[in-house]
Symmetry: C2
Subunit: 147 residues, 2 copies
């Protein structure tokens, strides 16, 4: 299975290639995640790539999805949480209940994110402090050494 967008095709359409696809290996390298994980995300219902033969073929949208999953992880979202968000987002059967569930979810997430912002802000200043003290001590050491 070779990449079908390997720049070696023609030089005809460099701008309007709107049907780019990726193999699992490519996505793996691009986004720095193991194939095992990607398949696991699919198993959990977070991805649904097309198949060609028995191989998975990922579209640009699939790629975006995967990136969203990863970002979610970086922010401490569980896979099932991310899935719920996807489902709410995808469902265009926008019932009133669904919309309100969505709003509740976003509010809750927003609160957590604000907490994280505060945490980061505090930790950043502490890191600043630690760093400057480290540098001071290193200066002391080097100063003593040069004498």
């Amino acid at each position: 299975m070779k990449d079908n967008h390997s720049d070696t095709s023609t030089f005809a359409d460099s701008t309007l290639n709107s049907d780019v696809t990726y193999s699992i290996g490519e996505l793996s390298k691009d986004l720095d995640v193991t194939p095992r994980s990607i398949r696991f995300y699919e198993e959990q219902g977070l991805l649904a790539p097309k198949r060609v033969g028995q191989s998975r073929v990922y579209s640009k949208k699939d790629r975006v999805r995967l990136k969203l999953v990863l970002r979610g992880k970086r922010l401490g979202f569980s896979l099932s949480e991310t899935k719920t968000l996807f489902n709410l987002y995808d469902s265009h059967t926008n019932s009133k209940i669904q919309l309100q569930a969505m709003l509740e979810m976003t509010e809750q997430k927003r609160a957590i994110l604000n907490q994280q912002l505060e945490d980061i802000r505090m930790l950043m200043t502490e890191l600043d402090d630690v760093e400057s003290r480290c540098r001071d001590e290193l200066d002391q050491i080097n100063k003593g050494k040069s004498e």
Copy 2:
């Protein structure tokens, strides 16, 4: 085992009580974490409360430590990472190597935090978007209902 700072002592020293202590149950309630977790953190070398009899007694410093552990968790730090930071921070045997290890660690953490900031920023605006669209649709629904 009763609390030794239960405000029922005397009304003498309300300002300069510098040796406040906490039971595990108090810390548990105050910081919203189970006793099991607190003991687990100790088992992992993140806390080292005094003992009175066989009961754990936590000082103000212990409490701060615990809060730091929890903040670390909120930011996606593993317990062993937090422990490493503690160890580096605690060791006043500031060898050049240790200081540099510390600086490297802070730099690395800082990068991750910046990534998180960016992630949060993006997700926030997306939440804004989703929310406003939700509200629009809800308005549509309610509008249609009133006719």
